[in-house]
Every structure is written in C-alpha cells, then in structure tokens.
Assembly symmetry: C2
Homo-oligomer: 355 residues x 2
C-alpha cells in the first residue's frame, strides 16, 4: 500500500502538496499537478480512508438507514438504493446501507456518535421517528425519504401521493368508470397514522369528489386474505363497482384471486389499478397490472444530492420535494362493462407514461 509519503517523494514535492492536489483546497500549478498525478498512477496510490477521515473529520460516508422487515424489499426500494448509491459514488462518497429501523436506535447512536457518518438518509420514516431525534442531537445532517408528522426544519423527498392518486383516478374515469373503490392499507395502519395511507385516502376523496363521484374506501389487511375480504366488502357496499384502485400490494393478489373465484374477468368486468407498484410485481399477475410506478431511482438520486448540499454548505436551508408515480397501463384496466372482450393485454387506450 503506497502512502502519500511515497507519492510525495516520487513526485519530488511535499506531502501537503500531494494533499492539495487531491483535495483542491489550494491552487497547484499544472506542472506540479501532473507530476503528482503520474506518481500516483505509477504507485497505484489510493488514499487511506481512515487517515483521511481522522484528519478531516469527514468520513465521506453517507448512511442509508433502511429497515429490513420480513417482507423483503420491493423493486421500488432497490431502485431507490441504486439511484442513491450511484449519486453518492459520483460525488466521491460511499453509501452504506444499514438495516436500522425506528426500533434499532441504539445501533444508530453507535454508528453516528462514532462519527462514521457524514449524513444520513432515512427510509420508511414514521410519523414520529426516533431516529430523527438521535441524529439531530448528534448533529448529523439528514434527509427523510417520506415525511414525519412535523417536517419543519427537515428536508425530505417523498412520493407525491396527491398527484399519483389523482392520475390513477383520472385514468379510470377517462375509461368510463364511475364506481371506483379504493382499497387502502389496514385499519390499524391508518389508525396508527401511517402517512401514505392517510394522504392517499384524502387524495382519493378529493379526486373522486372532483369528478362528482362517491369516494368509497375500504381498509384491507396487508395480505392476500385481506384483499379477498376487502373485495367482498366492496361488492356488498357497491354492487355496481367496476374498478378497484389498490394501495396495498399484498392485497392486490387476493383481490385478483377473489375476482377470479367469482367468475369476474379483469378488466372486462372489473378493472384493477395498483398504486406504487414496481413493474416486476405488476408483471407477476395475469393479466399484468396497470400500475402507478414509483420513481425509485430518481428519488434516490435527489435524496443524495439534497443531503450533500446540506453537508457541505450547512446553512440551515431545507429542501422538500415531491415526485409523482407514473401511470403504466398494462392489461388490468379497460373500459367498464366489456366482459369477455377487452381481456388480456388488449388495447386499453394507451396512455403515454414511463419514467
């Protein structure tokens, strides 16, 4: 392992000069810079991260605090991660993921108070997230992915649920649907104040009302069984329903199963649109699901850029940004009342869309 000493010696300059070449903290002449760079290349020099971190009090590490619940990560999350990692890498930072949720605050405190993190991105943010307090206390810059209840003084990036729901409803209404039911997360989740569930609920009411339609929402457990039950309830309360908008990725499969059991065709009898769903999951269903695809990778990039802005210009300035999901029409939505016909991948009135 070559050190900076070696490079300096070989280039015939002092170590501080080498350092300045690397960091750009002071002007260096073209000639010197060239000598230094070629010495580095010849020695295959790589700065030692620890030494650099110690001296500069900057680790060049960004933490991505990502709870890993049992149910795995959707493609949305992985897209987010890769987007974020690419952005970090481009800026000369490392992005390290740590499976730290609102529960494991201790581990976070360890990480942060050892001064390992220059900043942090929080995923799966709770309305009242203890991780925020820990990081603030240790004055580690942070950016939320999602939103806490009180976002004053906090930067975040999040999905624009209002816009997303509105676009989804518009899609169905434009196809001719009037009776649309919204299958949300479970009552418990809603009662617990889970942001996306609340925001989409309100957005759904607003969007439907805007079209002069009656907004019917049903809360479903996050499981296939929950979806089946939700669909039954939906038919009880609105026998004439022709479209389902589902927030709940697990329930969607139950909904489809129950629809099939009742001998109803998708989208001939009932159209189904899934929210915040990755293309990969959408393709699992038969027919493939028309869905609102989340802007995972863009969200990741923006989050990192925002965090970096905080880090190296730590004015108290804050940035709050929302990105909508984009509609991708696949086989599960079509005009109402065309049972037997429009099935499959049929011409469901293509809509421009894609990330």
């Amino acid at each position: 392992m070559a050190t900076m000493q070696d490079v300096a010696r070989r280039a015939g300059v002092s170590v501080s000069t080498v350092s300045y070449v690397l960091t750009g903290a002071r002007p260096i002449s073209q000639a010197t810079r060239a000598k230094v760079l070629s010495a580095m290349a010849e020695l295959d020099y790589q700065p030692n991260a620890m030494a650099r971190g110690l001296a500069s009090r900057r680790s060049r590490i960004l933490g991505l605090l990502m709870p890993m619940d049992e149910r795995g990560l959707g493609a949305t999350e992985t897209a987010f991660v890769t987007g974020a990692a690419a952005a970090a890498s481009a800026a000369g930072y490392h992005l390290v993921l740590s499976p730290i949720g609102a529960g494991e605050v201790d581990e976070l405190r360890r990480l942060a108070s050892q001064r390992m993190l220059d900043g942090a991105l929080l995923m799966e943010v709770q309305l009242d997230d203890p991780r925020v307090d820990v990081l603030r206390e240790l004055s580690v810059p942070l950016v939320l992915i999602g939103r806490t209840a009180d976002t004053t003084g906090l930067s975040y990036v999040d999905i624009d649920f209002d816009r997303t729901v509105r676009d989804a409803v518009d899609h169905l209404v434009r196809l001719g649907h009037r009776r649309i039911v919204y299958v949300n997360h479970s009552p418990a989740t809603i009662a617990h104040g889970y942001g996306p569930a609340l925001r989409t609920r309100d957005a759904f009411v607003a969007a439907m009302s805007g079209h002069g339609l009656d907004p019917l929402m049903i809360a479903a457990e996050d499981s296939a069984a929950g979806g089946r039950d939700a669909l039954s309830e939906a038919f009880d309360r609105a026998p004439d329903l022709s479209a389902v908008l589902a927030m709940n990725e697990s329930a969607v499969f139950g909904i489809l199963g129950e629809l099939a059991r009742r001998g109803l065709a998708v989208p001939g009898d009932v159209s189904v649109v899934s929210m915040v769903t990755s293309p990969q999951v959408a393709e699992l269903a038969t027919p493939a699901l028309t869905a609102m695809t989340s802007p995972g990778s863009a969200l990741g990039r923006i989050a990192v850029e925002t965090l970096l802005r905080h880090i190296d210009a730590d004015s108290g300035e804050i940035y709050q940004q929302l990105l909508p999901c984009v509609l991708e029409v696949r086989g599960s939505s079509g005009p109402p009342g065309t049972a037997g016909g429009a099935a499959g991948d049929g011409p469901a009135r293509p809509t421009p869309g894609r990330t």
Copy 2:
C-alpha cells in the same frame, strides 16, 4: 465529543490504560477498570471510529456486497441481511451493505483499497466472480454466500440444494405423487452455469431416480408467462402429471394462473411446491404455497461468524457449510386425484381467467 484524553484525565490514568480497558489487549486491575468505565459513562464517551481504525489498521467494518437487481430483494435476502447484521453487531462490528455486484468491480476496488473493509461477504456469487479476485488481490478476507465454480481455498455458506430438493420430492412422493415435473430456471440461466439451477437439476434427477420415478425437468423463463408456457409444455410431455415442483419464484405465479385457466384445482388436480420461497411470497398465492423456506437468518449469522473467524485468526483455514431449506406445508400440496375435495383453501378451481 469526549475523547480518550478526557476519560483518562477524569479517571486519573493514562490514555494507554484507557485504551487497554477498551480493547483488553493487556490486563487491567479491577479497580482501575472501574474508574475508567465510570469516567466513560459520565462523559458519555464513544471512541472515534476513524482514529481507532487508523491506529489499529482495522475498520471493524464488514462489507456485505449485495447486488441490487431491478427485481427487488426477496424476504430470504432480507432475512439474511438482518441475521448477518445482528451477528456483526454482537461482535462489535458494523455491517455495511454495498450494492456491488459482479459488474461494479471498480467501486469494490475503491472501497477495499481504501482499507475500509476488514472483510467481505459476497451475495449472488457467480460461478466465476470477479469480486473474488479483487478481494484476494487486496487480501481482504471474504466469505461467499453461494459458491463459485472452484471453491478451493474459499470459505462459503450456501443452501443445501441436494437435501432441499430431496425433501421436497419426498414430501410429494409420500403424498402419493408419481408424476412430478420440476420447473427450473430458464435454459439460458442453466447454460450460463447458474449454480442453484444446476445443483437442483441434478438433485432432482437423483431424488426421483431414488424413488424409481422418471425425472422430468422443464426450464422456464423467469416470468409469469414463462411459468404458463412451462406448464403447457409439462402437460404435453406428461399429461398424467399430478405435481409441480418449481424453483422459479416468478414462474410459479404463471403456473398457478395457467392451472386455473385450465380449470384445474390446486391441490386437488395438481399439487404445487415452491422451492426457496419466503413465507411472505408463499402467502401471496391462493391457495398459499407449500414451499421450502430458506434459512435466511441463520445463513447470515453463520456467514458473519465465519468471516470473523477468518479475520482475527487468519490461518488459511477455510469453512464450508450448507444449510437445507425447510418444508412448510401450506395449501398447495395434497394427495393426488382428489379434485374438489382436497386440503387447502377449498374449491379454488372454477373460473377460467383467474389471477
């Protein structure tokens, strides 16, 4: 931020003594240790990771190199990660995940040659994985999750595919099935030499032969459509088939869809068993899938323990370990030829055009 100086001063000892208390590198009397510890507590002291890393040439960071493909992470992977993180944390190490696949070798080289990693765990190992070469060259200890073609001198932990396939086949045979078809990954995947596909193929042949049965394998594309096609092919080649064993999580949903389309009940007409599938995914199907559940969390723990053994006793000793998936019987498997009656969720059979 309190430093070690502060602690030493407050405890009335030298810094080296404080250090020895922390690292245990030399014996310290009970009395002194107590003084030091209480000084630490009072000052809320946390050692600075960078300084420690620089001085000791050990970062106490383990890298988990986890490719993040577009399709997201299964529950198996997340269980692995949490298991690994817990084990690392218990040993005083940090586990950082880096979305580094066989493609992004440069990023890995950066990470490793900056001496940031004390060791690495490689997920999604390819038969000939360039990451292994990079790490060896930089002499970073590593443990594979999975296996390369040549594992001499390499430690790994992996799923015991032989045992897993055998258990799955035994389950079906014991239920009375004779005609069992194995739906593997795609021909391309197999041709490319993907380990699990090859190993399960061979294990399937062995297991079936052991029962005096004819081993029929079909390679399916990794998609719902691939599953549908595979099932059609299966019926062409074995009209009397009564059970499907599927390796391919994406294809399973297509298989179920096609079964429903043909008006065949699961498990009344055909039993379906899924391999290496998480409970969460298994529950998505209707009926829920009987599946071989992978030992994700245990795998993670063992991998970390193995890696640590390498790190702090770097004899050339190697460890190679296999863990089987365990059978979890749900609704999709039952005795053959009991259409209408069988176990599971009951009459899941009518209705062309489900899912």
